[in-house]
């Protein structure tokens, strides 16, 4: 149903003023010439969302940088006074904004977008977009250890939601449009459209739905094109040339997987423990929590200013072998502490950039130690840092596919894929084993939302037709006229039969129907089925053993039983399936 046509078809009241004649004419003209079908509009909208999200993210990134110049100065090692004051005062400002003006701007933005999709029909208030922009720019720019990606994701979703509402999209499309904006926002912030699309599908939507995939890709690419137009097409990190030389190196990457898995587990436990603890404190403390976090980060920043802010330049330096392994290890550990403090204090900001930072530092440290003992070329440190980014990402955010693609997209180097997969999987399994609930899931539960766990969905085994069908059941009558079929049917104890006709497919017939048909044929009377026509009712929908059970449920219609046949031989009956069989299987699962 075309909503646009619905709108235009609304009858005008009889006493409408004469001025409305113009509107009527306009409606007729636009119905004939302008009206887009919902699908076309959706794709056009995806491009527009991509462009607007791209522009917003560009402005957001610039706002963060300007705030940093203003509060911390342009030096990479600001004065101690600035390092202490900027995050503390920034924290006070952020707390006031979040508590008094932009109340829904807390958190990273990923869960809020997920909640919008699954609870609020894709509705993200536009006020949240403004709030996220202002508060995150202030928080990250003042040195809080958070990143701009997750907020960009939520801003994209908010922009998409606002456009969807403005265009009065159907409820179903409204729900789909928020992830499209999320992908656009994340792609622009990350300068990595493939990773952004995969992340949104892996973490927010949860399924590879054909209805939304095209629009998600279109939006992500549009936003990246816009972002590159303004900020340049240079990748986020200047990754030096590297190669995977020998399978022996995989031992080092496996160690990296273990280190990252343990570190990501520690980080997850830190957040899972301290976040509810701080939330339970009296409400007035929420005004000072971000400032206190800022002060603590400032104290860390006096010795290690690198842990402040998103830390992208530092990742770049680590990729270029600028730090010794001890320093890398120190930076990784203190970044975990700083980011944990920032996040649990309720300061709005993302976890992507800190995750990449920690991963790069730990990876570089493992690479440095490996270089020390095994004497691989120095470039292996950069390779470890790069793989480490993805590995920690996989262990902490629990998005294993995104993490691998991210490493590939950021490095443009496919030779690193084997180490990346091995290390990522090890880290993922360690994290999964000792922290069964993923980060975004437990954050949502702490906030009182019971959002579907994409990780659990991913691991959930889908029921198939073969799980519910009755193999060997169902009697198939041979090829012959009604009298022959009746003789065959009377020889069996069953009352319902299946008949296969090459031209008509599978049909169902009862013994009684067969008897009537045979009698009518022998009497020569017209029964509506002349001699040689297919007997019984049909054609029946045919199912295959590998089909999902919910799909079978949709296909069954009102038929009491349907045949389950072999895909290679449609005449071969594998079993039969009834509604009761399906319900029984669901009940047992």
């Amino acid at each position: 149903m075309n909503a646009a046509n619905d709108a235009t078809a609304t009858p005008m009241p009889a006493d409408a003023p004469a001025a409305n004649r113009f509107v009527r004419l306009w409606n007729i003209w636009r119905r004939k010439t302008l009206t887009l079908r919902e699908g076309q509009l959706f794709l056009l909208l995806a491009v527009i969302i991509g462009i607007v999200s791209g522009l917003t993210v560009v402005c957001f990134r610039i706002a963060i940088e300007w705030t940093r110049f203003w509060l911390l100065g342009s030096s990479m090692e600001p004065s101690h006074l600035r390092v202490l004051l900027a995050p503390t005062l920034g924290g006070i400002g952020v707390a006031l904004l979040v508590m008094l003006v932009f109340k829904r701007s807390r958190g990273s933005g990923v869960n809020q977008t997920k909640a919008a999709v699954f609870i609020f029909d894709g509705h993200v208030p536009f006020r949240t977009v403004i709030g996220k922009f202002v508060t995150c720019a202030l928080a990250i720019g003042s040195g809080q250890s958070l990143g701009p990606e997750d907020p960009s994701l939520q801003m994209g979703a908010g922009i998409a939601s606002a456009l969807g509402r403005g265009l009065k999209l159907s409820r179903e499309k409204q729900r789909l449009i928020a992830p499209i904006g999320a992908a656009a926002g994340l792609a622009a912030a990350f300068n990595a459209p493939i990773s952004a699309v995969i992340f949104v599908i892996e973490e927010i939507i949860g399924t590879w739905s054909g209805g939304v995939l095209g629009a998600v890709i279109l939006a992500a690419i549009s936003s990246v094109v816009v972002m590159r137009n303004f900020l340049g097409s240079a990748p986020m990190f200047r990754v030096p040339a590297m190669e995977f030389r020998s399978p022996v190196e995989l031992i080092g990457y496996a160690v990296l997987g273990v280190v990252s898995g343990v570190a990501s587990l520690a980080f997850l436990k830190f957040i899972a423990y301290f976040r509810p603890l701080l939330k339970q404190l009296p409400r007035w403390t929420q005004y000072i929590q971000p400032a206190a976090a800022g002060l603590l980060i400032g104290i860390i920043g006096i010795w290690l200013p690198q842990v402040m802010g998103s830390g992208y330049p530092i990742i770049d330096q680590a990729l270029h072998d600028q730090f010794l392994w001890k320093m890398l290890l120190l930076l990784g550990l203190f970044k975990i502490l700083a980011t944990g403090i920032s996040f649990v204090s309720g300061t709005p900001g993302g976890m992507f950039a800190p995750t990449l930072f920690i991963g790069a530092m730990l990876g570089g440290a493992v690479g440095g130690v490996e270089h020390l003992f095994v004497h691989h070329p120095a470039q292996s440190v950069a390779a470890f840092a790069l793989v480490g980014m993805g590995t920690f990402f996989a262990g902490f955010l629990r998005v294993p596919i995104t993490s691998v693609f991210m490493v590939l997209e950021v490095s443009g180097n496919y030779s690193i894929i084997v180490p990346a997969i091995i290390a990522n999987m090890i880290a993922y399994f360690i994290s999964r084993r000792y922290q069964p609930v993923a980060l975004f899931d437990f954050l949502a539960r702490q906030d009182g939302f019971f959002l579907p766990s994409i990780e659990e969905m991913r691991e959930h085994t889908a029921l198939r037709v073969e799980d519910a069908m009755r193999p060997g059941a169902g009697i198939v009558l041979g090829d012959g006229d009604s009298a022959e079929l009746l003789r065959e049917a009377e020889a069996s104890k069953s009352s319902q039969f299946l008949v296969w006709r090459h031209a008509d497919g599978w049909r169902a017939i009862s013994q009684e129907e067969l008897r009537q048909q045979a009698a009518a044929e022998s009497a020569g009377a017209s029964t509506g089925v002349s001699k040689g026509e297919a007997p019984g009712r049909g054609p029946l929908p045919q199912l295959y053993p590998d089909q999902p059970l919910d799909e079978a449920l949709r296909l069954m219609g009102n038929w009491p039983v349907v045949p389950v046949v072999n895909r290679a031989n449609l005449e071969k009956l594998e079993g039969i399936l009834s509604l009761d069989d399906i319900l029984e299987t669901y009940r047992k699962s």
Binding site: A7, A19, W66, S75, M76, D316
Partner: protein
């Protein structure tokens, strides 16, 4: 209250419907519906996108300008630190500059230079290799890589990068920079002992030195030729350097030493004398000058000598060599003229000298001038033999030895 009476909301705008109303009064208003139609919303969105585009462009331009300014500011600070010898501070500044201008190859190059100055050759090399991958024919990058390779002992790499610098693209003063790079390559080759390759490079270098303002390069090339042992080409280069009005100081010294090595002692004496008068107090210059003077004053075959002077010089040279022979034999415990003296070259020469000595009277030499050559030959052979037996000659003996080395040369 209306909300409580009629909790239904409009499916289009989401506002609560008034009590008893079946349609939304706002959405049924023609103008409202018109303003909220998809086409109008899309058109407005398009306008907003265009405005946002320009706004973002404006903001971005300001941002890039700021980044550029910060990059320059930190780069200049780094250069100042590097000039003042504080490579560690320069490094921090260049790193900061790179954060703001990550694609600026000049900053990356200077950063690599600062890293090399700090002794962090591996990092400097990594940076330079990255730069070279982007601009393989960039001569300054190749030169910097060559210097790092020299430091790390990668001789083959050094040679490759030096050639990259010589044949690469220089941003300015290409000719002079190429010549200097080749000069540096030659120094590297000579230090490494590859004199034959060095000589080939020096010949190429000499052929490329421009006529104007090339005196200093000629002098340096001559110096390097001297190091390879090719005194002929060295002298030629020094002579080229000396053709200008104000020749380089070292040109005279080099020319003198080259002439000295070639056995052209008169020339050597002239050049070295001028060098010393111009303030050169080098020991090798003094020594060569002294020896040259001795050679020119002791050589009986020097042009323009009277016969008497030739005879006197020959006799004097003979006495000098014979005296050194006797001194050497005595120091070895050998009595040259004893009947039971052991057979040795010194004894043979002593016997020959003893036999020749009576024939070297003024009268005899006047009647038999060929005896002068016989005597001088014995002098040269004696000096060589004594050098082998008793060590390097000094003073007049050294002059006589050198005279013997270059028979027939103009002295």
């Amino acid at each position: 209250m209306a909300r409580e009476d009629n909790p239904r909301t409009c499916p289009q705008c989401g506002n609560p419907l008034p009590a008893g109303a079946s349609e939304c009064p706002r959405c049924n208003n023609g103008l409202f519906a018109f303003l909220h139609s998809r086409e109008i919303v899309l058109s407005l969105t398009a306008v907003i996108v265009i405005v946002l585009f320009f706004l973002t462009g404006f903001v971005t331009r300001g941002y890039h300008q700021k980044l550029g300014a910060l990059g320059r500011q930190w780069f200049e600070a780094g250069e100042q630190q590097l000039k003042s010898g504080n490579a560690a501070a320069a490094l921090a500044d260049f790193h900061t500059a790179l954060v703001y201008s990550p694609d600026d190859t000049q900053i990356q190059f200077q950063l690599a230079q600062a890293l090399a100055a700090e002794g962090r050759d591996g990092e400097a090399r990594a940076y330079l290799l990255e730069l070279q991958a982007r601009a393989p024919s960039d001569a300054p990058i190749n030169l910097a890589l060559a210097r790092i390779s020299v430091g790390s002992g990668s001789e083959a790499d050094a040679l490759r990068y030096y050639h990259g610098a010589i044949y690469g693209v220089w941003p300015n003063e290409a000719e002079a920079n190429r010549l200097n790079a080749r000069l540096e390559l030659c120094r590297f080759l000579i230090a490494r002992g590859d004199t034959s390759i060095a000589e080939a490079e020096l010949i190429a270098l000499a052929s490329e030195i421009p006529e104007r303002n090339g005196a200093s390069l000629h002098a340096q090339t001559g110096e390097l030729f001297l190091s390879t042992g090719n005194a002929t080409r060295a002298l030629s280069e020094f002579r080229s350097a000396l053709t200008v009005e104000h020749p380089p100081k070292d040109a005279l010294r080099g020319a003198g030493l080259a002439a000295y090595q070639l056995g052209e002692f008169q020339q050597a004496e002239r050049y070295l004398d001028r060098a010393r008068r111009l303030g050169n107090k080098d020991a090798d210059v003094s020594h060569a000058l002294d020896i040259s003077r001795m050679v020119t004053s002791a050589d009986p075959n020097a042009p323009g000598l009277s016969e008497t002077e030739r005879r006197d010089r020959a006799r004097s040279d003979f006495e000098q060599a014979f005296g050194r022979l006797q001194f050497c034999a005595k120091s070895r415990g050998i009595d040259l003229f004893a009947k039971d003296a052991p057979q040795s070259e010194l004894v043979t020469l002593g016997v020959q000298a003893k036999a020749l000595e009576p024939q070297l009277t003024d009268e005899n030499l006047r009647r038999h001038p060929d005896q002068i050559d016989v005597a001088m030959n014995l002098v040269f052979v004696t000096e060589d033999a004594v050098t082998t037996e008793c060590g390097a000659p000094q003073g007049m003996d050294e002059a006589l030895t050198l005279m013997g080395k270059f028979p027939g040369r103009k002295r």
